[in-house]
Each structure stands twice: as structure tokens, then as C-alpha cells.
């Protein structure tokens, strides 16, 4: 053990340089994205598509013009919102894997004000958003209550509840919410004035994108610059310490899951009000699970999640362009979103094996 009290000026210099250097965890994360992007490109080549043209199409599809960037941001939005919810829960010690279900309930919730009150004009916009967030939060509350009262592990509960929510939405659009005389598995359309306004004409860019970015900033403030955020991190990092401080873990579990579920609900509401305009069976292609991956890849930090969600958004819009122009299978998007997290987990596991854990989860 070196004597820490003796410090040479050189040490001070080295430390300040270290502060400037890119931290190991960030380098590994970037590496994971680079490797998975290369694998994706290789795969496109392997499938017999012209690689140069594919690459050009992909970049143009994701960032080529205003409408492409809009698509990327629109794909980013729900993934980011779910990720914010997931990371708040996980930082607070609740392994909320139920983003998909909370998203489904947010989507259902967003339809409730319109179905209950009719077309109220623009007033519906805030009502639908809030209602979606509340429905997501209530769906997220269930695992919290089960954990506190019955000690049920939230991992299994939230995973199972995802599928209950998916089938419940399917039931709604096949029955109670299906308009008379329609055979499609979807509800009636929201009135035009209740849709999220388009930010740039001629693109799909809706106001929900701004909502998600603001939510990311608020999440960062909440976690790092509020007393509640400190307690939340304490509850997640060391439940025993948290209890010994005289705090109530149960109350924290409930708050954390309400916020987390609320974000998931928001994601569903935004997807309905900005993209689908109605409730549709299968509108979420696993967005909840992708959001979880975003949260982990972003190092459970709000801004990390923002960048990763942007990458996921770009992958999705690039794949869309590749499918439209070169008929590359759209499943490329799922591969490209599943790969980085596997690579990252392996890298972290190997580092932990060498005695250099860079990333510790709450369990």
C-alpha cells in the first residue's frame, strides 16, 4: 500500500490528466458500438448486398436530410423514455424489466380521455399525456406493492406482466375498443387536434421528441442534484445502509416504481399520439425491451441513455431506408440493437474477472 500522504507534483499532474482522459467504461461502450456496427455492415455484405451502396443508404437514411433526422429522433423517443424509467428504477434498487408492459398501458391510458370525454380539442393533448403516464405508473405500482407485501421478486413479476399487458391491449382492440363495422385490430383514431403537433412540416417529427429530451435532463437533475435522487441511489446501492439510516425502503420502492412506470407510460402515450394516432395491436415491436438495453448501455445515466437511444433511433431509420431502397431484411435492426449489449456485458464480465470491475449493478 503506497503512502498517500506524500504527493509529488507529478502525481497531481497525472491525476488531472486522468480526469481528462476518456474513462475506461466509456471506451468499452464505444468499442461495443463500433464492433456491432462493423458486424452489421459485414452481415449486409454477407447477405450479398453491395456494401458501399448499403452504407451510403444507411447513413442517408439516418442523417441524410431533415426528414431522415426526424425519423431517427422519432424512433429514439419511446426508447429513451422507457430507458429513463428503467434506469431510475434500477438505480433505486428495483430491477424493473416491465418497460414493455408499462408502455402498453401508457398507450391504453392515452386513449382514455378521448374515449371517456369525446373530442375536447387541444385540451386532450395534456390530458392524454398525463393519463398515459398515470396508467403506466399504476401498472408499475403493482410489482412494487407485491415486492413490499409479499416479497415477490420484481424481475419475474415485471417480465410476466409485460405479456399480460400485451394480451390485454390485444383484447381491447379486438373487442371493446374496435369501432363498429371494423375488422382491423385497432381502435378509433384520435381527433387531429389531440395529436402531438408536428415540429417541422413534411416530416414525422412530433413534439414528443422534445418531451423525451426534457425528460432526460430532468432525470439527470433528479438523480444527481436532488435530495430524493441521493436517497434513491442510496436505496439502490446499499439497501442495508438505507434501512440503518432509518429510511423506509418500502416507500422508496413505491416512489421509484411510480416514476419508472410513469416514464414507460409516457413512452406509450407519445407513440400513440405522435406516431400511430390510435391503439393498434402490436404497435410496439419490443420497444420496452430495447429501452432496457438502452438503459444498460447508457451506463444507467440519463445522458448516456440519450446518446444510446439516438444510436438505436439511427439504426432503426437506417434499416428502414435499407429495406425500402435495397430490400435488406428489417430484422437487421433487432440484431444491431441486441449485439452491443452482449458485447458490452462480455467486456465488463472479462474485466471483472481480471479484478477490474468498472460497472456494478445493484445486485
Amino acid at each position: 500500500m503506497p503512502d498517500r500522504s506524500v504527493q509529488s507534483p507529478l502525481d497531481a499532474l497525472r491525476r488531472s490528466l486522468q480526469r481528462l482522459a476518456v474513462p475506461l467504461s466509456l471506451r468499452i461502450t464505444l468499442g461495443a458500438f463500433v464492433v456491432s456496427t462493423l458486424i452489421g455492415i459485414g452481415l449486409v455484405g454477407l447477405l450479398g448486398f453491395p456494401m458501399g451502396r448499403a452504407l451510403q443508404t444507411a447513413v442517408q437514411g439516418a442523417f441524410g436530410d431533415v426528414s431522415a433526422i426526424a425519423d431517427t429522433l422519432v424512433f429514439m423517443t419511446p426508447r429513451l423514455l422507457v430507458a429513463l424509467g428503467a434506469l431510475i428504477a434500477i438505480r433505486g434498487g428495483m430491477f424493473n424489466l416491465g418497460g414493455e408492459g408499462q408502455l402498453q398501458f401508457g398507450a391504453i391510458g392515452a386513449m382514455i380521455p378521448f374515449l371517456a370525454l369525446g373530442d375536447l380539442g387541444w385540451v386532450l393533448i395534456p390530458l392524454c399525456i398525463v393519463s398515459g403516464a398515470i396508467c403506466g405508473a399504476l401498472w408499475g405500482l403493482i410489482p412494487a406493492i407485491l415486492k413490499i407485501t409479499r416479497g415477490s421478486d420484481e424481475i419475474i413479476v415485471t417480465l410476466l406482466m409485460n405479456f399480460i399487458a400485451i394480451y390485454f391491449l390485444k383484447f381491447l382492440v379486438q373487442g371493446p375498443l374496435q369501432p363498429e363495422g371494423s375488422n382491423f385490430n385497432m381502435s378509433a383514431k384520435l381527433p387531429d387536434r389531440a395529436l402531438l403537433p408536428t415540429l417541422i412540416d413534411g416530416t414525422r417529427l412530433h413534439a414528443g421528441v422534445l418531451l423525451a429530451i426534457v425528460a432526460a435532463i430532468l432525470t439527470w437533475v433528479l438523480i444527481h442534484h436532488t435530495a430524493f435522487g441521493l436517497r434513491l441511489r442510496a436505496a439502490g446501492a446499499s439497501p442495508r445502509f438505507f434501512r440503518l439510516q432509518g429510511a423506509k425502503p418500502g416507500a422508496m420502492t413505491i416512489k421509484v416504481m411510480l416514476i419508472s412506470g410513469g416514464f414507460g407510460g409516457l413512452a406509450g402515450a407519445v407513440e400513440v399520439m405522435g406516431v400511430q394516432y390510435r391503439l393498434i395491436d402490436g404497435f410496439s415491436t419490443g420497444i420496452g425491451f430495447e429501452g432496457l438495453a438502452v438503459a444498460f448501455l447508457g451506463g444507467l445515466e440519463a445522458f448516456g441513455a440519450l446518446f444510446v437511444a439516438l444510436y438505436f433511433g439511427a439504426v432503426n431509420s437506417a434499416t428502414l431506408a435499407l429495406q425500402a431502397k435495397l430490400s435488406v431484411p428489417s430484422s437487421l435492426a433487432e440484431i444491431m440493437t441486441g449485439l452491443p449489449i452482449l458485447i458490452l456485458a462480455v467486456a465488463y464480465g472479462l474485466l471483472a474477472l481480471k479484478g477490474k470491475p468498472v460497472w456494478t449493478l445493484t445486485r
Partner: protein
């Protein structure tokens, strides 16, 4: 309304048919979990089994070989997964989520590359095997003894696993690895190879489960996300069955019967919308999971990567 014997027999038979894929996956997962690996990637392993089964069947025209390639596909995917979660000690939950996302994409891609205009043939040779004598019994004959050979195999495997964990040295060693990997390591037990083996066994079983879904339940046709959450359901079954193979059979059968209500419910006088019936296995698994509360029977080192300290 009267419910006659044939309706009941058909209902039970359909429950059995629907329980087989989840049962196979659950039996596989049980071995992993007993050895300390919490494998959320089960859903993905089933998907790989299903797509490889479909490719095998389309290429060879033989449903038996289809089941075989499905098992092989599941095992290969599991071998890759075990490199990640056993050898590289990655976080098992994080990897599981990522692996399932990846599996959705890769299996869909494989379908688009290999199964575009795939021909399917008869699957009769693997769909029904009437056990002589027993299949003529009233009700139970039709329900339990005129099933796919895969179902009988699943039962045999369940019994073998029960024997393995109760009476054999290998079973004891596997349990030791799951209960306290460090202690097992100190006493000279090869922890990592055993865990790898357990995960690959899970892959074989989940692969067969996926292959059953594809070959026997849908005539050899693979559709994207054919598993529809059954892998997660199987995980719930394992925990609800308290890591016991015979209980897993019973639990899986009950959930299969619930799922069967969507086909036979109306003959039994039930008028419930199909999506709600599809949700019932998940609801019941959830309720059961909540009612049993804390799972004290869980292997102590479940979900913890092994680090020699």
C-alpha cells in the same frame, strides 16, 4: 349445458399439446438454475430451436430430422450464450435481455434467407403416437396416450431429472455448484464446465421446445416471434415448481390447459375473448408466484457469476 366425455378428452389433449413446448424449456431451465445460472435467454433459445427446426424440416422433408436440427440449433445458440454468461461472467439478466433481442432479429433473418419458399410436408410421424392399449382407455386414452412422442419423451426426461437430482452423484454435484460455487470449486469440482454443460442442456431442451412449436404445433412453418413469451413463462414455471422436475410437469400441464381454453373454451360453456385466455397462463403464473412469496428453495448462488477469489 352438458359437457360430454369427448369434449373433456379433447380439452385435456389440447392442454397436453400446448404444455409440451413450455415444459421442455422449463425442464432445461431447471437444470441451468440448479447449477446457478439464471437464463433469461430461454425465449431466444426456443426461437433458435424453432427456426433451425423449420430449416431442417424444409431441407430434408423429415419432421424427425427437423426436431433434431432444432435441438442442435438450440444447443449451438446455448453454447455461444454459455461463453458469455459462464465463461465471460457477464451479468445474466442483462445478457438475457440482449440475447432475446438478438434472437428475434437473427431468427427472422434466417427465415428471410432460408425459408422464403420453403415446402412443408406431413408431420404425422411425429405428431401422434398412440400407445397400444392405453390409448383406448376412455378420456385419458385420448388426452394423454395419443400424443406426440415428444410429449412422452418430455415425461421420461422429467423422471430422469428427478432421479438425477435425488439419487445420483452428478445431480448432487450440480446442486453444489448452484448452491455454493466457491465451496464446490475448493473441493475440486469443475464449476465452469458443469455450468457450461447445464446451459447447453438447457439449449437442447429449449431447442426441442421451439422445434415442437414449429414442427408439431404449426406444421413446420416458422413465423417471427413464434414463441410469444413462452420462454418467460417457462422460467416462471421453474420457480413456481420450486426447481423440482415432477412439479414442473404438473404446473406446465395446468398452464397448458388454461391456454387450451382458447380452443375448447366455448364447448365447455365459457365465452371469454381469446386474447384474455392467452393471457391467463401469465396471470396464473404471476398469482402463483406472488402466493408462494419468497422462494427460499432457490439455489443460493443463482444468478451470480462464479469468480475464484
Amino acid at each position: 349445458m352438458d359437457i360430454d366425455a369427448i369434449t373433456i378428452a379433447l380439452f385435456l389433449a389440447s392442454g397436453v399439446r400446448l404444455c409440451v413446448p413450455v415444459l421442455l424449456a422449463a425442464l432445461g431451465e431447471l437444470v441451468s438454475e440448479r447449477a446457478g445460472v439464471f437464463n433469461i435467454g430461454l425465449e431466444g433459445l426456443m426461437l433458435f430451436g424453432a427456426v433451425f427446426a423449420s430449416i431442417g424440416f424444409a431441407t430434408t422433408g423429415s419432421p424427425v430430422l427437423g426436431l433434431g436440427t432444432g435441438m442442435l440449433g438450440g444447443a449451438i445458440a446455448a453454447a455461444v450464450l454459455s461463453l458469455v454468461i459462464v465463461m465471460a461472467r457477464a451479468n445474466q439478466i442483462v445478457v438475457g435481455i440482449g440475447f432475446n433481442l438478438l434472437a428475434l432479429g437473427v431468427t427472422s433473418l434466417l427465415r428471410q434467407v432460408f425459408l422464403v419458399d420453403a415446402q412443408t410436408g406431413s408431420v404425422r410421424s411425429v405428431s401422434t403416437l398412440r400407445l397400444p392399449g392405453l390409448s383406448d382407455l376412455p378420456i385419458v386414452g385420448r388426452a394423454f396416450f395419443s400424443q406426440s412422442p415428444v410429449f412422452y419423451a418430455a415425461l421420461v426426461i422429467a423422471v430422469l431429472l428427478w432421479v438425477l437430482f435425488k439419487y445420483t452423484r452428478l445431480g448432487l454435484i450440480l446442486r453444489a455448484v448452484g448452491e455454493n460455487a466457491s465451496a464446490a470449486d475448493v473441493s475440486g469440482i469443475p464449476v465452469l464446465p458443469l455450468r457450461t454443460g447445464a446451459v447447453i442442456f438447457t439449449g437442447l431442451m429449449a431447442g426441442l421446445g421451439g422445434a415442437y412449436l414449429c414442427i408439431i404445433a404449426s406444421g413446420g412453418v416458422f413465423v417471427d416471434h413464434i414463441t410469444a413469451g413462452r420462454g418467460y413463462l417457462a422460467i416462471a414455471i421453474v420457480i413456481f415448481a420450486r426447481w423440482r422436475p415432477i412439479r414442473a410437469v404438473v404446473v406446465a400441464f395446468v398452464l397448458g390447459c388454461l391456454e387450451a381454453l382458447q380452443f375448447q373454451g366455448q364447448y365447455l360453456g365459457l365465452d371469454i375473448a381469446p386474447p384474455l385466455l392467452l393471457a391467463t397462463p401469465f396471470v396464473v403464473a404471476l398469482l402463483a408466484w406472488v402466493l408462494i412469496g419468497k422462494a427460499s428453495a432457490a439455489p443460493k448462488d443463482l444468478g451470480t457469476p462464479f469468480m475464484r477469489s
